[in-house]
Amino acid sequence: MTKNENFVGKEAGLTAPFATLSRREFLKRMGLLGGGLMVYCTIGDLTAQARAPRDGYLGGNVPTDFNAFLRIGLDNRVTCFVGKIEMGQGPITSFAQMLAEELDVAYESVDMVMGDTDRCPWDAGTWGSLSTRYYGIFVKEAAGEAKGVLKELAAERLLCPVTRLVTENGLIFDRNRPMSRVTYGELTTGKIIERHLKDLPPLKPASEYTISGRPYLRRDAFEKVTGRAQYTADIRLPGMVYARILRPPAHGARRLRVDTSAAEKMKDVQVVRDGDLVAVLHPHPDGAANALGSIKADFDLPDTGINDKTIFKHLLANAPEPVVASEAGNPKEGAKKAASIIEETYLNSYVSHAPMEPHAAMASVDGNKAMVWASTQTPFSVQGLVAQTLGLPVENVRVMVPFVGGGFGGKSASAQAIEAARLAKHSGKPVMVSWTREEEFFFDTFRPAAVVKIRSGIDDAGRMSFWDYHVYFAGQRGCQNFYEIPHHREAVYGEWRIEPGIHPFAVGPWRAPAANTNIYARDLQMNIMASVAGKDPLEFRLSHLKDKRMRGVLTAAAKQFGWTPSKTPSGRGYGISCGIDAETYVASMAEVEVDRSSGMIAVKRVVCAQDMGQVVNPQGAAIQMEGCITMGLGYALSEEVHFNNGRLLDVNFDTYDIPRFSWLPEIETVIVPNPTLAPKGGGEPAIVCMGGVLATAVYDATGAKMLQLPMTPQRVKNALAKKS
């Protein structure tokens, strides 16, 4: 895409939600938000080099006007607006740190407003470990420019050259006359000032940071430990009703008949039939559930013959042409030089997001305006979809995202918001749609089942001579080669997005999409090769690695773990895995015990080292690593969606087994310092090693090749039996 700086600066900067507003209206709206007045800067002659580009699907609609990101109140408090949402990963804390750092105000003086399409600058969605490494730059630039303008205003007020001014704690003073001073709030009072800087000032160097890079506790903890934190399903409006919607028993089922007559006779129940949508509304959720239970419906059930066992054959039979993610040399040539060739096929089952909060949305439609509260990772997409559904202009729809009770990619899709909007329009009442756990499983956009086939070889000297990698339907993220291999090729057949005719239900991004599958398969294959070469798995990797960051995280993990070299299987149960995700380098080591009679894997210890460049909140970063490690136990050991002919067999936590307290290993996290590199991702990377580190640990303990995730006790027993 070619970028027109002029267009980006002058027009795209004021797109959604302000796309259709004149500048005056924009100012009015911002000014009406309460609190203090604002400094307004014109834009247009900023140097293109100085401003982070706003282009593509991630940044195309991000405003350039710094006022979209922050506002300074009369009381000198600063409100930071971001289009991101808070679902647990902690941007509510790290954005406040970044803003305070760059603006030179106290961290405590910052208030966060997130995920409100009327008040916050546009964002593509909270996913991809992009909040800090990508959106954070916009926030820092806005703060830097605002500070520059404030200094110009202060220079005029204090009759002092800008170069003599010092900013500190929301205050500007003359370094020669410290009592000659003015607060940010005093400067922004009383009038709207339109002013711009000729050039964006450079961002603060990390060496001058006093807020970024320091550990901060979560700023939303008080609300969350007291029950004050509001989630979507907690929103209450006068006259609101709760909806329950008639669902098919299986994906692909066709509704034949529906009889709502009993529900229609029930007290306080409203039955809504809007095309395909059949729903009941009641002032109480339990009342709606009772009414739904009275509806009789017949469905024609599909017979696809596809289930959780046959799916892998189905995937291979329907693979599209591959995309080559990375390659060098020619694997066929490399194979000729191989002394040993290892060929394995790895399988991954469908995995659910299973956030503790099921999808919920409240919609209220009043004339030609709609308000929607939704547990979503993508408020601006929801705004567009609701507008389209209701036939309203985008700016007439306001989407607000309260705290989100976990997303992990699963709340990138937000069908519940569309349902709530349709029902609200149809009924004329505010409607809450709060999915049951069964609905949450049924409509989840699962991590796709996938197959990885690897053929690789070692030469006489024990070096990898070729690597021929084929991944089906997981996607390419994480498969790119970073080892020194003369001949390699990574072929990708289908992505994790919905591929027509492939999956029996919806699939989508699941925390570090594709990377979990790819890195698991690569690392188990690597350890099998190390075994054939008679090498220690860490040394085998290091001997094929020049990349300093990867060597750095492996070495740091080994030091923390106390790794001592040995051939594998060693009987010790030591596992190793490493990868690159969201531009962050990560390496994990683990120790497991395998009960050969039961097939149970006990994870004793997991060490994870991560190089993520600059770290805004080391406390938050470590917590994300711990969370990834804990959550990752699930896809490695137990989590898989069982299904048959479009019918889900796992619809609650009795059979879909997610990690519990009793599964906890000792967890140790190491952040490898890299302060000269801009911040990289932190919400996902540490999960990508969990399949690989545990599969290699089981291999090291027993010699059993766990060629399918999750490694259930039965699969462990089967692999042990196959080995003997």
């Binding site: 647990g88 902690g90 007291t226 109480h284 969370g627």
Partner: protein, 159 residues
């Protein structure tokens, strides 16, 4: 159908006219406006809806409002004392023992119940008692630290 149900809610006597068969969780969340207890699974499998009934942690999605008649119910909203956070709440903040926060009310009330029954639990006892409360974000290690710390702060006394 509609009956008068009297019980003690968060240290205050309460009398409401309600169908005693209705689920406690929904009466709390909708009729009484206390939304700290969350709907997570609807089958008592996740612990997000945990409340205290006579100091014992119970899944409020599995009990009726009639069941608590004459009893004492405490929700997360009733845990503060004289405007001060309870030691368990303070410990959860101190250790960042939460991420998305959706399981947090249930975790804290389950921990309260655990400390009533066993004021000085070992780490293994905490793990065993908390095992049916699910957290998807992986805050487990910090939740254990928080409960241990709260228990130490309470010095074996009642929570």
């Amino acid at each position: 159908m509609i009956k008068t149900i009297q019980f003690n809610l968060n240290d205050n006597p309460l009398s409401i006219e309600v169908d005693p068969e209705r689920t406690l969780l929904w009466v709390l969340r909708t009729d009484l406006g206390l939304s700290g207890a969350k709907f997570g699974c609807g089958e008592g499998l996740c612990g997000a809806c945990t409340v205290l009934v006579d100091d014992e942690a119970m899944p409020s999605c599995q009990i009726s409002i009639g069941y608590v008649a004459g009893g004492k119910v405490k929700t997360i909203e009733g845990l503060e004392r004289n405007g001060q956070l309870h030691p368990i709440q303070r410990a959860f903040i101190k250790y960042d023992a939460l991420q998305c926060g959706f399981c947090t009310s249930g975790m804290i009330l389950k921990a309260y119940s655990l400390l009533v029954a066993n004021p000085m639990p070992t780490r293994d006892q905490i793990i065993s008692e908390m095992d049916d409360n699910l957290c998807r974000c992986g805050a487990h290690v910090r939740i254990i630290q928080a409960i241990q710390t709260a228990s130490e702060e309470l010095k074996g006394g009642r929570p």
